[in-house]
Assembly symmetry: C2
Homo-oligomer: 257 residues x 2
C-alpha cells in the first residue's frame, strides 16, 4: 500500500508544511520506502520530482521541502511496492496528456487481475504497476466518451470518472488523486481525508514531526486551501473522511457540493 | 534560440561535468535565461527537472549539478524564448508516451508558420511553442507510419524520423534531440556537435568555467560516452559537427554508422 497527498488552492500556495509531515511516512514514521514523487501544476505546465529512494532520506525531497514552489494543484505519493519492482517507471505520480492538458495520477491500493487491453488505444503503461494501467484505462475511457477536442465541464467529468472508477474498483482498493491543473479529483475506497483551510486561520501541528505553523502568518484573508491525505497530517484540526466509493472534485480550494 | 545538451552511454553515467559548463550558458556566459530543463532515463523510467528560471541561478540546477544521477540517456535544454512566453508549459524537454515508452524531445531553432492539425490525433501540445507542436507532429507521424504495438528497429526509426524532420525543417531551423531511453536521435540543422569519449581517456577542460576533469579517474576501461551539444563544451578536445540536414542515432555511446 501507499499514501497520497494532494493540495488544491484558489491561489498558488507552497506545500512545504504538509510535505514535511508526509515525507516522514516514507521511512521515518511509516514504512512507505519504495520511492516517492510529487507533481506541481503551474498554470498549464507541470513539474514532477520522482525518486526511487525513500522520501525521508531523499536529497530531492530535501529540495522540495525547502524550496517553496507555489502551485494551485499538487499531487504527491509515497510508495510501498506491491505490483511492480522498486524502479523509476513504477513511481507515482504518472503523467499523460489529454485535450491539450497534462493529467497527473497517483493511486493507493491494490488491484487484482486488472489487465485491461490498452495496446490499441492512445495510452499505454510504461511500468508494471496496476496503478499506471488504471490511469491509462481512465484516460482511454474519457477520450472515448468525450471524443471532442475540448474538455467537458467539471460535473460531466466527475460523473464519468465516478463511473469508470467504480468499474475499476471491482478489482480492489482504488483510492486515487487525479488532476489536470484546473480540477482535482479525489476518490476514496478505504482511506482518504481532507481539510479546507480558510479565514479565520489557526495554528496546525503535524502528526509525524513536532512542527507547528500559524497559518495567519503565511496567508491572506481570501486564501482557501484544501489538503487531501490518506491519513490526517495534523493532530489539532478536524479532517473529513471522504465516504468510501465517493469521488469528489475540488476547485479553488474546496470540494464542489 | 536555445542550446541543447545530450548524453548517450553504454553504462549509466553522471552528467555533472558537462552540465556545469552547459548551465553557465543560461545567464552567465550566454543569454539563454528563459528557463531550462533536463531529463534522465533510468531504465524505462524517466525523471525530468523543469524550471522557468535561468539555469545559472536555479536552485534546482544546483541540485542537478551536485547530485550525481546515473543515466544512459540524458537530454537538457536552456531556453531563450522565441515562440511562447516564459512559462513552465513552454519549457523543454517535453515528454509523451509511444509504444509503452516515454519519449523526450528538445529543440533548438525557430519554425515559421508551422501549425499542423493535431487536435484529432493522439498528441496535442499543452504550451504555445513551435517546438512542442513539432514533437507532437513527429510522434503522430511515427504512430501512423508504424501502427503496430511494437517499436520498430533503430534503422527504420531513423529513416522515418529523418523524413518527417526534413519536412518540418522547411519551416525553419530544426536542430533537436529525441530519446526513448534506448536510442538517442540527434538532428542538426545549423549547429550540433558531438564527441565520443572512450579508452584511452584523457583530461577535459570546460569552455564556460575554469574546471577540468581527468576521465581516467571516473571511468572504467569499457565505458563509452557520447556527449552532444549545440556548441562544444570543452576547449581541449575535438568535437565533430553533425552535417546540417543529417539525423544521427546514438546507441551505447556512439553513433550508428
Amino acid at each position: 500500500m501507499c499514501q497520497l497527498l494532494g493540495m488544491n488552492c484558489n491561489v498558488p500556495t507552497d506545500i512545504c508544511f504538509s510535505f514535511e509531515g508526509f515525507r516522514a511516512r516514507g521511512g521515518k514514521t511509516d514504512e512507505h520506502v519504495d520511492g516517492w514523487g510529487i507533481a506541481f501544476f503551474e498554470g498549464s505546465g507541470c513539474r514532477m520530482f520522482l525518486d526511487d529512494q525513500a522520501s525521508s532520506e531523499s536529497t530531492i525531497a530535501d529540495l522540495v521541502r525547502h524550496y517553496p514552489i507555489h502551485s494551485t494543484h499538487v499531487i504527491a505519493h509515497i510508495r510501498k511496492a506491491s505490483h511492480g519492482g522498486v524502479a523509476l517507471e513504477n513511481t507515482h505520480p504518472f503523467q499523460r496528456e489529454l485535450w491539450g492538458r497534462y493529467w497527473i495520477f497517483a493511486h493507493n491500493g491494490e488491484l487484482q487481475d486488472f489487465t485491461p487491453t490498452l495496446s490499441a488505444g492512445s495510452y499505454r503503461p510504461v511500468g508494471e504497476t496496476d496503478s499506471e494501467r488504471a490511469f491509462c484505462q481512465i484516460l482511454e475511457y474519457l477520450k472515448t466518451r468525450f471524443p471532442g477536442t475540448q474538455m467537458p465541464a467539471a460535473r460531466e467529468l466527475q460523473a464519468a470518472l465516478s463511473e469508470v472508477s467504480t468499474e475499476i474498483a471491482t478489482h480492489g482498493a482504488f483510492n486515487f488523486l487525479l488532476s489536470n491543473g484546473e480540477l482535482l479529483f479525489a476518490r476514496c475506497a478505504t482511506d482518504l481525508h481532507y481539510i479546507v483551510r480558510k479565514a479565520p486561520f489557526a495554528k496546525a501541528h503535524l502528526v509525524d514531526e513536532d512542527i507547528s505553523i500559524d497559518f495567519n502568518d503565511v496567508t491572506r484573508p481570501d486564501d482557501r486551501v484544501a489538503v487531501i491525505a490518506t491519513l490526517p497530517l495534523t493532530n489539532n484540526e478536524t479532517w473529513t473522511r471522504i465516504p468510501p466509493g465517493k469521488l469528489l472534485v475540488f476547485v479553488d480550494g474546496e470540494p464542489l457540493d
